[in-house]
Amino acid sequence: MIQIKQIHKSYITGQNSLHVLKGIDLEIKAGEMISIMGASGSGKSTLLNILGILDNYDSGEYFLDGVKINRLSERKAAQLRNKMLGFVFQSFNLVSFKNAMENVALPLYYQDVPRKKRNLIAMEYLERMGLKEWAHHLPNELSGGQKQRVAIARALIGKPKVILADEPTGALDSTTSLEVMDILQEVNATGITVIIVTHEHDIAMRTRKTIRITDGNITEVIVN
């Protein structure tokens, strides 16, 4: 599903250049569930953002489902993100003035699915997350766990092939974290590839494979 070869990435700020990814090689098969671990600042998010076509890389190769990802137009990138990928962020990133249902329906909005139809589908996904009663609430009326479940429903509604989660439990207490992980495991069980960035050990343990990044290199691959 995902192949990357010798990915390099530097951040340039003023005079300084920070070499963050120093030749990452990684292959993730369809239906896998893996975690990426590493110290803070080791480049986990940077890698995930490149995988999510939110950022570009300096050199190397990246294939997503056989499509070469390199210097795409922003239009093409947006379409690929919409069709292929689902994002779950640490800070949820819900749109504040849209209710839970409308937030979930957003990816379908960008596919020009009619409003009635996409809201109906959004309700199905919310129901799967046990949030049907909360459909018409704004994000600031929801708890952290509820917000993250809305975000997961939103990530799933476009029927993506890969879910990218950057510290999805980072802002949640431990019980809620476990719930979210249960959901992500269920998602993976339906055949969707799941990639989770985390620095919590017990979260990583619940994935099948853990990749450890140290100082911009993959230093360890553990099969849990």
Binding site: D55, E74, R81
Partner: protein, 420 residues
């Protein structure tokens, strides 16, 4: 357009900071409002001044005699002379560029004694001897009867055409003046027509006190011999009146032994020249109004663009989320441009409505208070101007939104998402 999510977002953005939205909208509102008011007032002024011309043919020239200023052919300077009936024939004969020629002679009114009597009523009025052509050059509004015709001239009929104020003076409310007799400087005339002026204000008052008699009748009745007071002349439609003016003056000078170089002996007034001057003035006013108006409007639009820049910056993260979820650049750009267009159009439309409303109110007040509005008649703007202004607004809205919108999609999605 009928995408609820778009409107929801616009509503959210504009509502978020109401004072800011209001102030921004006010900039555009004020621009359009000022433009409408200034254009409307300019139009009112122009209508007022133009109405002072009545329906007068603008390609006319008026010619009369004055003292000579150069001794010529044995005559001393300072000589008085008169035009005469032979001049009329000579002009008609030798200047084919003339369309209407209306000789006139005036019989009184300038003498401060009552010159018109009917029964016990009397008044001071201007008495003119005219040809039918005069009503073609400077038309009157006939409420009943008619103007002088060719038969009146030929038979030297004792008939009179009188203004509405003359009627008010000499007749009671329920009398019909037509076919009645009035005594003008001792001679009885039968009333054949009643008119009102097409001018406004004081000028109309003056004209409504006029009495018109057949030219030939007046000449004979009051012993003017064959003298002519002055000529009103219009040129053929495709000929500039200045050509006629010049030819006629040259002919008259020759016929009355006036030196060709004598600038003062023949008085003349070229209406076309005055009219053109006026038109130039109004063109200048309108140009100025558009420059000032669009300048004000531009300031408002720049304000919108500025605010949209701020809004886009504030919403960087939100836009980042939308892009991560698959919003294409076009979707983002069109959303922001639409916000800008809605803001400008709405504010501008409001300015247009309030501006037109104020002009209508002024109209109403001018009408109901009966103010002397000689120089200011029916201020207002054309519908086409309103449509133009709105079109300009929409275009401005698009332009104002374009820069912020492009900036919104110029950052990488990840940088937008990271923005705090």
């Amino acid at each position: 357009m009928f995408d609820i999510d778009r409107w929801q977002e616009i509503y959210h953005v504009l509502r978020k900071n109401k004072l800011r939205t209001f102030l921004t909208a006010f900039g555009v509102f004020w621009g359009i409002f000022m433009l409408v008011i200034m254009l409307g007032s300019g139009n009112g002024l122009q209508r007022g001044v133009t109405q002072n011309f009545g329906d007068m043919a603008t390609n006319s020239v008026f010619i009369w005699t004055q003292q000579t200023s150069i001794p010529y052919k044995g005559f001393p300077r300072g000589r008085q002379y008169n035009f005469d009936n032979e001049d009329v024939i000579a002009i008609r004969h030798s200047i084919p560029e003339i369309k209407y020629l209306a000789p006139r002679i005036q019989a009184g009114g300038f003498m401060q004694t009552n010159n018109v009597i009917r029964g016990l009523k009397s008044g001071i009025f201007n008495i003119m001897g005219d040809y039918p052509a005069f009503n073609k050059i400077d038309p009157l509004n006939f409420t009943s009867g008619r103007f002088i015709n060719d038969l009146d001239i030929k038979d030297k009929r004792k008939v009179a055409v009188i203004g509405s104020r003359v009627v008010d003076f000499l007749f009671t409310k329920n009398e019909n003046p037509i076919n009645q007799y009035i005594q003008i400087q001792g001679v009885y005339f039968q009333v054949i027509g009643i008119f009102t002026s097409k001018r406004t204000g004081e000028q109309a008052n003056q004209e409504n006190q006029n009495i018109y008699l057949p030219f030939t009748t007046l000449q004979q009745t009051y012993n003017y011999g064959n003298a002519v007071g002055f000529f009103s002349i219009t040129s053929q439609d495709d000929i500039p009146v200045s050509v006629v003016e010049e030819k006629t003056i040259r002919l008259l000078k020759k016929r009355h032994a006036v030196a060709p170089a004598d600038e003062t002996a023949v008085g003349h007034f070229n209406l076309k020249k005055e009219y053109d001057k006026m038109q130039g003035l109004f063109f200048g006013i309108r140009l100025l109004v558009w420059i000032v108006g669009t300048g004000t409007l531009l300031a408002g639009v720049i304000g919108v663009s500025n605010i949209m820049l701020v809004v886009v910056r504030e919403r960087t993260k939100e836009i980042g989320i939308q892009r991560a979820l698959g919003a294409t650049p076009w979707k983002v750009i069109s959303q922001i441009v639409m916000e800008s267009v809605v803001l400008t159009t709405f504010a501008g439309y409001f300015g247009l409505v309030v501006g037109v409303g104020l002009l209508e109110l002024i109209n109403f007040l001018l009408g109901s208070t009966g103010a002397n509005t000689e120089m200011f008649v029916h201020p207002g703007i054309d519908f086409s101007v309103a449509v133009t202004a709105l079109t300009i607004l929409v275009i401005c809205g698009v332009l104002a939104g374009m820069i912020p919108a492009r900036r919104a999609v110029s950052v990488k999605p990840i940088d937008a998402l990271r923005y705090e």
